[in-house]
Assembly symmetry: C2
Homo-oligomer: 604 residues x 2
């Protein structure tokens, strides 16, 4: 039967053959997560996703959220899966058991996250935000805060949010004006208006815990004066019981292009002067707290997008296998029968693009989680630091590049369906609409590109970027020893060299007083780095597959492994030449975009 | 004041400075269309677009179309502009005066078409389809058919459609099963079910004339047995009066990703055996008739997309000038004020992409229309054939490449707005949604790519493609004589050479028994050809601008002309290196996408 959401064979391949996550279970921390357990977890997640979440994707999009009489109603069909999510304890997969978490490796959780988000991304906003608030409490909270909030957040009994944005403080968080005044009893009075708050209000949970960025009166301007507060919708008494309404009012929800089932709320704090919060972490260190969470959040956004892409790919694949239209291109006879469109070369080209990106993105995202797991089980501070540096370098790629490409994949997914791709009867157009937000939120992809160029290239004096490249070269070496991959390995090695040259060149341009010119190529550089990362993952996969083919594989496995070799062949011979062109442009670092006068853009 | 929809200065530049359309008025046919008249037409079109059409774009999207009790209701706000369209005689701008047309050059009409579609693409579906049906009647109709239908279609009193697609006959039109049985009185009984019929039913007009593709009973299979019929919704008596209902039933409308104001209908013909039509043109020549219309229709689709892109660009530009967010990148002081985001390099990069594509696409589309005008005024059959060949080569680029790029531009238009780009309060997300259909309908872009590679490269034994390249080289020569453009001219010349090489290579691959491999690169080849066409148009523009700058221009004009030089600099130094990479991949013509087994795509 046709698979939906994500290809299980491919997920198993990444977990067990490419990353060999079973290694993790040799360490005490993950001792219970042997292969059997891992497979069971993935199977259960898939089951829940396919049977309970997927059927709510379209109805949730159609029903959307409503805002009436100051209350937010989310799609009715989300309530049942939310209860199942709570019952199955899926909210806090990687977190400590003492707070209700499952303590599993991040790489295994990634597979579950992929199934869930691919099944219903809008729905997943609710568990994800509750968990995110919990992570903040776990990381920065006092014992009392943990006691009051943490289990309820990690169980899903209460929801959570992430309250940053204001109308005039979006990408520039430091411009926010929401204020906090100490009340003298350890609480603060919070006043301000926030927008774009996902899950900011909803009828799923009895209480919502808002981590709110605000400025304590008298604090410095900009990001240096921002603190983080825990602000419950309904006050939580010292004994954990619910108190009075805490003056957090939802003033409206956004009508959006997609993600209709996820309520995007405007919230007013303290319009009646009665909104209280407690400091989470230290005064004026709110931005730092956000930064600690940032990798996790951005990796998740990459997965939200990749999951849409994966679902779109599998749908397109099934459609292309079943849709009969047109004759075989090489067929001369007029009486020849029409064929499934998967036989047409341009459809195959699109499916190959979708396949290679879907698989490359999956490997990359799981790999980042696997690095996190390696850090967790390692006792070697150098090894930990090395993996952390690689993660830090890869995060802007995992968010910025992956969401860009996932959107393209979803667009191909519409295209393969032809006219049917554009209508709501089929799932493809919703996946495209939903996916589009991932390029924007949690730091626009322009900001991801700046992060890579401005922070990550020079991280640890450039060592982390070098470590990233040397990991690639390890794969190049392994693959280079396989005869049929020799050419691809050499091509990737060459691309890595060009990427290093581009990095040096763009870095020198920035340092040489032409920062504006350099940063006008931040996004092309992100693209080039992402392309190389994809090629790396695909070559790695092909090297594993080639080894298995050599050993001999059963028919079904052989098809799968052959597909891995074809993927790297396609990517290296079709995409990587274009990447080299991108790098040539980067090394030219043309100044037109920054030199052109504002008037010359026209429009007046 | 900020311009909306399209930049008037740029339109004037294309019409009068780049193409110098006033030349056309030296010919008798277009004698009345001197510069003053042309400007007046464009001004009136802009006026109508800005004042009457644009305010209905968002309400039309929100209200959408309804299907109740077998009747289709379109957005209420479309009725007034439709009457104004009729009153202003905008339906048939280029058609003969004897049938109510305005007889204007296609290049001038292109400007009006751009304003109208940029203002409200959904609305424009109704006048456009009525006019399209009229064009078929004018071209293939008998005197009687013209007398009965043509003025009413060209005036907009009656609407029209284009009825091709069936559930199992989309891209493969030849698979259609709708049948026509001669009644012996010159009429045919039509029976069949059609889908995706734009404007198939609506409450704007008292009658709708459907040109329907059907197969006369006993006709050959495939496209060779398809005939075209005129099938009115309400029968038209011999004296022109309306007769009885003609058994054309709308059975539903599609819910779509965008274009909500345009009714996409399923139509059943002859469910009660009472649907009659008359043959339009010759028996079994229906597909040929469609082909005659195809250039016009596909060029229009390119303009629909480019108009969305232009509107998105101007919106993004205005937003970027007004939105204050973040400090200047090179600013060291913490107390420095925040700046408009147009000062940030990645925003500029995106605006430059939007500008160069918008302007390049505009020039290309107007140029194709201008070639049509040149054919109309020429008495030299060689010249006519040469221009027709260039048009034929450019049509797949004008449809396939332009719609691909317009969608990308609209996506950048969302991105520049950040979170605001994703919400319905702002226009950007609708432009992206609306634009997406252009890549699919009137021949998917995959089909456009096949058309370029399979038909157009070899057209007139390859002469037409050579003529296209030699037109580019004329511009290269002119621009090469301008010192500051010398480098760009040389780069474009090099790209043209590579494009010719790619064409030869891919042609030889196809001819050498590897047709599947070659056609897997049909779309990349379309992209490469399109990139080169953009660079051509931008270099042509810059050459004109440089000449004006040399002469000395006032301050505002100087900004504009400077912007033209910056555009070609940006495109040649930033995009064209990537194009060379694409051509390198084409010349490799890797076979992975066609060699991979169906099983190896996975998903089972």
């Amino acid at each position: 039967m046709a698979q939906v959401i994500a290809d299980r064979r491919d997920i198993d391949f990444v977990l067990h053959e490419q990353l060999q996550i079973e290694e993790l279970s040799k360490h005490e921390r993950f001792a219970e997560f042997n292969r059997k357990t891992a497979d069971m977890i993935v199977s259960e997640a898939r089951n829940l996703a396919v049977k309970e979440l997927l059927p709510t994707r379209k109805p949730g999009d159609e029903e959307g959220c409503r805002f009436e009489n100051g209350k937010v109603t989310i799609p009715e069909c989300f309530h049942k899966p939310y209860r199942l999510f709570m019952d199955g304890e899926w909210m806090a997969m990687c977190d400590p058991a003492e707070w209700g978490g499952q303590g599993m490796p991040a790489s295994i959780a990634q597979a579950a996250t992929e199934y869930f988000n691919g099944a219903n991304y809008s729905f997943m906003i609710y568990p994800r935000l509750g968990h995110g608030a919990g992570r903040l409490v776990e990381t920065f909270g006092t014992e009392k805060q943990k006691e009051l909030f943490l289990k309820k957040l990690y169980s899903g009994q209460w929801g959570g949010t992430m309250v940053l944005t204001e109308a005039d403080a979006g990408s520039d968080v430091g411009a926010l004006t929401t204020s906090a005044v100490p009340n003298g009893d350890g609480t603060y009075s919070i006043t301000g208006n926030k927008i774009f708050i996902s899950a900011g209000d909803n009828d799923l949970v009895e209480n919502i815990i808002h981590p709110v960025l605000a400025r304590i009166v008298g604090a410095p301007a900009g990001t240096a004066g921002i603190s983080l507060f825990l602000v419950p919708k309904i006050w939580v008494n010292d004994d954990g019981s619910l108190g009075e309404f805490n003056d957090v009012v939802c003033t409206g929800i956004e009508e959006k292009m997609g993600l209709h089932g996820a309520a995007t709320c405007s919230l007013s704090f303290g319009t009646k002067g009665k909104c209280r919060g407690t400091l989470l972490g230290q005064e004026n260190k709110g931005m730092r707290a956000m930064f600690v969470m940032m990798n996790e959040v951005r990796l998740l956004v990459g997965m939200q997008a990749a999951a849409c892409a994966s679902a779109s790919y599998l749908n397109a694949l099934t459609y292309a296998r079943e849709r009969i239209q047109g004759k075989d291109l090489t067929e001369k006879s007029k009486d020849a029968p029409s064929v499934p469109i998967i036989q047409h070369p341009d459809v195959r080209r699109q499916l190959m693009l979708m396949k290679t990106y879907t698989e490359g993105m999956r490997s990359l995202l799981y790999y980042v989680s696997f690095c996190e797991d390696r850090i967790r089980v390692s006792n070697d501070p150098n090894e930990k630091a090395r993996y952390q540096g690689i993660i830090d370098v890869l995060i802007p790629v995992a968010k910025g590049y992956v969401t860009d490409k996932a959107f393209e994949v979803c667009s191909h997914g519409v295209q393969v369906y032809g006219g049917y791709g554009y209508i709501k009867e089929y799932p493809q157009e919703q996946l495209l609409r939903d996916c589009r937000i991932t390029m924007i939120y949690e730091g626009t992809n322009g900001i991801q590109a700046m992060d890579l160029l401005g922070r990550k290239l020079g991280l640890n004096k450039g060592q982390s970027f070098k470590d990233f490249l040397s990991e690639i070269n390890k794969t190049v070496e392994t693959a280079g020893a396989v005869k049929e991959l020799e050419k691809f390995a050499a091509d990737l090695k060459n691309a890595v060299k060009h990427l290093a040259d581009s990095a040096r060149h763009i870095g020198a341009t920035a340092a040489g007083g032409k920062a504006m010119n350099a940063f006008a190529f931040a996004h092309p550089f992100l693209e080039a780095a992402g392309d190389v990362a994809m090629a790396w993952m695909l070559l790695w996969r092909a090297a594993v597959a080639a080894r298995q083919l050599e050993k001999g594989a059963n028919k079904k496995d052989k098809s799968f492994y052959d597909g891995q070799v074809k993927s790297v062949q396609f990517f290296i011979n079709t995409i990587l030449p274009v990447t080299l062109g991108k790098m040539a442009a980067i090394c030219m670092t043309d100044g037109a975009a920054v030199e052109i006068s504002e008037e010359s853009f026209g429009g007046k």
